[in-house]
Structure formats: C-alpha cells, structure tokens
C-alpha cells in the first residue's frame, strides 16, 4: 500500500483511511462521480423521450379510427424506423460498433432460427387458444391491395421490426439503462418496455419472454445480430403462417411460390 498522500505515513495493505490523519486513501474522483451521475439522468431522459415518441405513434395508430391500410402501415413503419434511426445517430459513432461487434459462432445461427421457430409454434398454440379474445388485424390482409402482399408483409412485419426494434430496445434502451442498474434488471426492464409498447396486455404473455431471450442474447454475445435474426425468424413464421392460411403460399394453384 503506498503511503498516505496527505501525511505520507505508512499504511496497512487493507486500510481505507489513513490511521494518522483520517483522510481516505482511495480518493473518489468527484468530477467523475458528477459526470457519471449526470450521464445517468441524461440516460433516463433519452429513454423516456424515445419510448414516449414510439408510444404516441403506436397509440394513435391503434386507438384512433385510422384504417390500417398498406399505405398507413408503410407510413407508420417508415416513421418509427426514422425516429429510431435518428436516436441511434444521436448515440454516436461507437454505438453501431457496439451493436455489431462481439462473439460470433456459426452454429448459433441455425440454433437461433430453430429457437425462433419453436417459440413461434408455442406462441401460435397459445394465441390460437386466445384467438377468440384477440382482435388484432392480421398481416397479409393489410397488404392485400398491393401487388405482392406477402413480400410487403415480410418487409414490414419481419425485416423492419427486427432491425429497428432491436436497435431501440436491445440497443439504445439496453445501453442507457446499463449505468443505472445491474444487468439482470436491465434485461427485465427493457423487455417489459418492449412488451408494453405493443399495447396489448394479453400479448405480454409471449412478448416479454421473447424480449427476455433477445436481451439475454445481447448480454451473452455483446451484439444484437442474434437478436435481430431471432426477431426476424419469429415474425416471419407468423407472416408465412398467415399467408398460408389465406392460401397465398404453398398453394398448388399458384405457380409462383410467394406472390
């Protein structure tokens, strides 16, 4: 242990205070503490702002009498993506590096795809049980007026949310919660926010576990690519299931596989 910086007297190895003058031996960097504190406050403000904007867009779409046509859905999708993209730009250059650099193992990709398919099957069973209770407007129906309803559904239901929701919840919100609480709490809080933003309390039964899994993947591997893949595959399963139910794919009457 180095001598006391104040009185220069010798100190024991485990001493935290000088036994001669009483000054603390491990000095706390006051400026660093203040910086950390203001960063934490700023972190929460940014989360509230991002969540608030997304919430407002979703609530207006869901609870006003706007017909969810493909034009409306595309506009809302672009608006949400734009908001999240602006927030990611505000996070700085290193944010993108953090989101994509980490542990990569080739065998994780098929494993995650299988996990997403398994998840979607379980959720499908639960959702079917609750189907009488759920009045959600379903995917390909909204894009029925377009030339390629399945393709548009895949882009707006599977691709766009997988990229931007992961950037928002397992990216910005996850990172900004991290200095304010321990990592397991970060995983839980970011997953709850993800679930609640979908504005359907019944869906929380499956949305929160899905988000927990994606956040756990982020924690284990450091990047959000696995989470994006999981989210994409999971949503894709529902779009394909919906398209199949409506006879739009895997239908022997159709020459084109996905039209």
């Amino acid at each position: 242990m180095p001598p006391c910086p104040n009185c220069n007297s010798e100190q024991d190895e485990k001493a935290r205070f000088c036994s001669s003058c009483g000054k603390p031996l491990v000095t706390r960097d006051v400026v660093e503490e203040m910086r950390k504190d203001s960063h934490q406050r700023f972190s929460l403000q940014r989360i509230f702002l991002l969540y608030g904007i997304l919430l407002l867009i979703c609530v207006i779409l869901k609870f006003t009498k706007v017909e969810p046509t493909w034009k409306v859905m595309s506009f809302v999708g672009i608006l949400i993506s734009l908001v999240i993209f602006i927030f990611t730009l505000l996070e700085g250059n290193q944010f993108f590096q953090r989101m994509f650099i980490g542990k990569y193992r080739w065998w994780m990709f098929p494993l995650i795809i299988l996990a997403a398919i398994a998840f979607s099957v379980v959720v499908d069973v639960i959702a079917n049980e609750l189907s009488r209770l759920n009045n959600d407007v379903f995917y390909t129906y909204m894009y029925g007026d377009t030339d390629h309803p399945v393709l548009w559904s895949i882009i707006s239901i599977a691709v766009q949310p997988a990229i931007f929701e992961e950037l928002a919840f397992r990216g910005i919100i996850y990172d900004r919660l991290s200095p304010t609480m321990d990592i397991s709490a970060v995983i839980v809080v970011s997953s709850i926010l993800f679930g609640i933003l979908h504005l359907s309390p019944i869906s929380l039964i499956w949305l929160v576990p899905i988000a927990l899994f994606a956040a756990w993947l982020r924690k284990k591997n450091g990047h959000i690519v696995y989470g994006m893949l999981f989210h994409f595959t999971y949503n894709l399963c529902f779009v394909l299931r919906d398209a199949y139910d409506r006879g739009m794919i895997f239908n022997k009457n159709h020459i084109i596989w996905i039209h």
Partner: protein, 195 residues
C-alpha cells in the same frame, strides 16, 4: 459491519462515547487496532482522537442514516403506490367484466394486476428498476385508456395523481438512497467542518 444496522448509529438519546476497548474500533468494530492508530483504517473513526471529534463523526453518520431512512420511507410509499395501482386496475377490470361479461377482460385484468403486484414485490429487493417499470407501465395504460375512452382520464383522478406522484418521487429517491448508502460506507467525515 452493515452501516445501516450499526448499533452505534441506531442508538437513540444523548451521544455519550465511552471507549472501553482501545483495540476495537468503537464505530465499525474492526480489531485489532494499533496503539499508534489515531483513526480506524477501515472507517476513519477517530478512535484515539478527541471526544468532540468522535461525537462529530458519529453525528455526521447518524445524519446520513436519517436521510437514508427517510428515502427508504418514500421508496416504501412508491411500493405502496404499485400495490395501489394493482388494486385500482383490479377494481376497474372487475367493473368492466361485470358490464361486458367478457373473458378477454378478465384475462387482461389478471395480467395487468399481476404485473403491478410483481413490481411491488420486486421493489423490496431492487426498488429502482421496479419503480421505473411500474411508472412506465402505469403511464402507458392510462394513455391507452384515455385514447379508448377520453372520459376515463377523470375516473379516479385523485388516485391516479397520488400514484403518479409517489412513483415519480420514489424513482428519484430509490437512486439517491443507493448512492447515499455507498457514501455511508466509504465517505470520510470532515472533522474540521464548521470549525
């Protein structure tokens, strides 16, 4: 020793410091202290200092503890607010259920009520994330109800304001309390302050 449960700090009445064992720190019970140690190397208590300094040290720590206790009280109020929110939603969903007789309403109500009860229980161990989640969930649900039925904004308005205030104040104090607990463990008491 956990400073929050330190009997020296928890003792009520006039401070009368009488050190019987010079080898054991009066404040944190670290032992053995050397004869040459004026201050305890673990907590900075002036074991061989003047009685005035010793009293000042304990009083400063006691003051910090009182503030922490007050903050824990407001975190407790935030916890009650979370349980209060659960009760509010329970009543609300029961009323809607009896009006509509819909299973969807009762399932949705069960999820929402369990969510708030869960936050309340979580807040005993980890108050900050629990209160934060509770506050955001509460605000989101009220916003949804306001869009579905604008008149619902005024239903139970006093309760909503009380719950909101308790959660916002609890969120602030939950963080502050944690920081002050750290301070109580590590912060040096300036014995020359006020001289």
């Amino acid at each position: 020793m956990d400073p929050l449960n330190n009997p020296v700090l928890r003792r009520r009445g006039h401070l009368n410091i009488e050190i019987k064992n010079r080898e054991e720190c009066y404040y944190c019970k670290t032992s053995p202290l050397k004869e040459t140690d004026i201050f305890c190397p673990s907590c900075g208590f002036p074991q061989n200092g003047t009685n005035e300094d010793q009293v000042k040290f304990i009083q400063a720590k006691k003051l910090l503890l009182i503030r922490i206790d007050q903050m824990h009280e407001s975190v407790g109020r935030a916890r009650n607010a979370l349980f209060g929110a659960a009760a509010l939603f329970l009543v609300n969903y029961l009323i809607v259920y009896f009006q509509l007789n819909s299973t969807a309403v009762i399932i949705e109500g069960a999820i929402v009520v369990s969510l708030f009860v869960g936050y309340g229980i979580w807040s005993t161990k980890n108050p900050f994330p629990a209160v934060l989640s509770g506050l955001i969930t509460f605000a989101t649900l009220l916003l949804i109800y306001a869009f579905v039925n604008p008149l619902s904004i005024f239903a139970g308005i006093i309760w909503k304001v009380i719950i909101f205030s308790a959660l916002i104040y609890g969120l602030r104090t939950a963080r502050e309390a944690k920081k002050m607990e750290e301070e109580l463990k590590t912060e040096k008491v300036d014995l020359n302050a006020g001289r």
